[in-house]
């Protein structure tokens, strides 16, 4: 650790706090203020709108599916990347990071190209078997999975590397088969990384906008999700409803973070 003089320490703290405050804190506080500017009336009114409640339900449903799928595949991918050597491993690793660097709108367009029912590459074939991907839940779950793909993998990979495979080898030499070793040794040792990954994915999924706007078709009362409603309300000159819904979305994210830090064991007892 670098030793700093007391004034320098305080100056640095001030800069850090001010940075976070002006970038994150103040806007969020303003959002809350704006939501409750006239008391609860606007807030209650917003959630009496069936389109809003439906959008919230759609958001939660799509997010839960995406998180569940991402958790299973994320842990699997992380195990593959850390524990096995195979050709194309670096390419796979790079592809997993792709959603971080590509705009979600582009992801939405790409999915549209492949899966749309009229002239998509794969869409008509699926549609002829009764599976509609675009403008319906499967496409929305896929788009959400895509944007949140790296979050679980990148949380779990460093922990798997740090834990090493000693314990797994010991368990195998004691007679454990692959499933027993995974369930009794590997998963318990990466438990917290998975929890963080899940929470991050959930927060990311709840807030997804760009990819979903394209893939869902933004059909009010059907495929519209909460962030899409926020945008619609805002552009349609009902900012109060937009603020109220935004506040709820922020609240859910904050709750996620609070729950995890409450559940998290103290570092010292590890």
């Amino acid at each position: 650790m670098v030793e700093l003089s007391t004034p320098a320490k305080w100056a640095l703290r001030l800069v850090a706090v001010a940075y976070v405050f002006f970038l994150v804190g103040w806007p969020v506080i303003n959002l809350a203020q704006r939501t409750f500017a006239d008391g609860w009336t606007a807030f209650v009114q917003t959630f009496q709108d069936p389109d809003v409640t439906h959008a919230l339900l759609v958001t939660v449903e799509v997010s839960l599916w995406a998180v569940a799928i991402n958790t299973v595949f994320g842990v699997g991918m992380a195990l593959l990347l850390v524990r096995y050597e195979f050709p194309g491993k670096r390419l796979l690793s790079a592809l997993i990071d792709l959603p971080m660097s590509v705009s979600p709108v582009v992801i939405g367009l790409a999915l549209l190209l492949v899966y749309n029912g009229r002239d998509g590459w794969f869409g008509p074939w699926l549609e002829s078997r009764g599976i509609t991907v675009i403008f319906s839940s499967p496409g929305m779950v896929m788009a959400t999975c895509f944007v949140a793909l790296p979050l679980v993998v990148r949380e779990v990979v460093p922990v798997l590397e740090e834990v090493g495979d000693d314990q797994e080898q010991a368990a195998r030499s004691l007679g454990g088969n692959a499933v027993q070793v995974l369930r009794r040794i590997t998963l318990p040792s990466i438990k917290w990384a998975v929890v963080y990954g899940v929470v991050l994915s959930l927060a990311r999924s709840l807030g997804e906008f760009g990819a979903l706007k394209i893939v869902s078709g933004n059909l009010t009362g059907r495929t519209q999700t909460a962030p899409l409603v926020v945008e619609q309300k805002y552009t349609n000159f009902s900012p109060d409803e937009a603020y109220a819904l935004s506040f709820v979305l922020v609240l859910i994210s904050v709750l996620c973070i609070v729950v995890v830090s409450a559940l998290r064991p103290k570092e010292s007892s590890e």
Partner: protein, 327 residues
């Protein structure tokens, strides 16, 4: 014969870890695989355990061909250098792991775990987490865990390598006693010749992916097959055309013994009960000599003295081939 290893070769890329190795490790004994780091001894042990696959060759454990068997089917207990404890489980749960995997009934598991914890003196730590144990205690727990499943063979990979000198010494004495109590065929890897000599019934010296010599500790020390074994098992010095151990050189103030060589004491160091001398002979070589403190005192040896040195009768020697070539 318990473990038969025949013509095993293992490469990691261009590096040849094991080069056509064949050896048999006897039942019920404590065998040490001894050699320098990177010599292939750990690889050999891991191939026996099934944690590594040989490129070619065969491994037979108790008459069963295990070459292609997965580690969980081999019934082998393995102890790792860095313990490989299950961090999220209590000590008792760690020891019970292999038994629970085998779906033994609860009472049976508890009785066996109690018995093993007693054996490794960890009864009062049963409910602790491994992070609350010292290194020595963790390794004893790992041993109990490996023994719990009553393995046909117990394999230990540098088991005391990560421990400090005192605990190391205690644990190896304890391992020796444990083996006398529970005589399961045991193979352990070490690069510490003292550890191997003290604990093992038989030593396999491995260097550069090849086996240099197999034998009982005395045999290896007294009749080393070659220069490498001699050098690895103890200090070596050169006197005339032979290489021998510094304590196998007689030192005198007069040229009474046949074949004695004159020289001057260049340096003299006292370490505990022994005295180490460096004697410069007339051919310009420096010869190390170790003698007892009492002997050095009776001769009143000091730096600068003229002495006559002779290989003692019955000294184990090898011809000084390597240094002639090198020199």
């Amino acid at each position: 014969m318990s473990i038969e290893i025949s013509n095993v070769t293992k490469r990691f890329g261009d590096f040849v870890a094991l080069d056509d190795v064949s050896v048999s490790l006897p039942t019920g004994q404590l065998t040490a695989l001894l050699g320098p780091s990177g010599g292939g001894k750990s690889t050999l042990l891991r191939i026996v355990a099934g944690l590594e696959k040989a490129d070619t060759g065969r491994v037979t454990i108790e008459g069963v061909d295990a070459t292609r068997m997965s580690p969980q089917k081999r019934n082998v207990g393995f102890v790792f250098q860095h313990y490989a404890v299950f961090k999220h489980m209590s000590v008792a749960k760690n020891v019970a792991f292999g038994l629970e995997i085998r779906r033994k009934n609860k009472d049976e598991v508890r009785a066996r775990v109690d018995e093993l914890l007693k054996l490794v003196h960890l009864t009062q730590f049963a409910d602790r987490l491994p992070s609350q144990l010292s290194g020595g205690q963790r390794q004893r727990m790992a041993l109990a865990r490996a023994l719990a499943v009553q393995p046909k063979v117990l394999l230990l990979d540098e088991p005391f390598g990560a421990l400090d000198a005192k605990v190391r010494k205690e644990l190896r004495e304890w391992l020796r006693r444990l083996h006398d109590e529970v005589p399961v065929t045991t193979v352990f890897v070490t690069h510490d010749q003292e550890e191997a000599m003290e604990v093992a019934d038989e030593i396999v010296v491995i260097n550069d992916g090849r086996i240099e010599q197999v034998g009982r500790p005395d045999q290896l020390y007294d009749r080393p097959a070659n220069d490498f074994v001699m050098g690895f098992l103890g200090d070596v010095t050169q006197l005339g055309e032979v290489r021998l151990r510094p304590h196998d050189i007689e030192i005198a103030l007069t040229p009474d013994l046949a074949g004695s060589v004159p020289g001057d004491v260049l340096r003299l160091t006292r370490i505990g009960f022994e005295v180490r001398l460096v004697v410069g002979t007339e051919d310009g070589r420096e010869v190390s000599v170790v003698t007892t403190r009492a002997h050095a005192r009776s001769l009143e040896l000091d730096a600068g003295d003229r002495v006559w040195i002779t290989p003692s009768s019955g000294a184990s020697t090898v011809p000084a081939m390597k240094s002639l070539l090198a020199g």
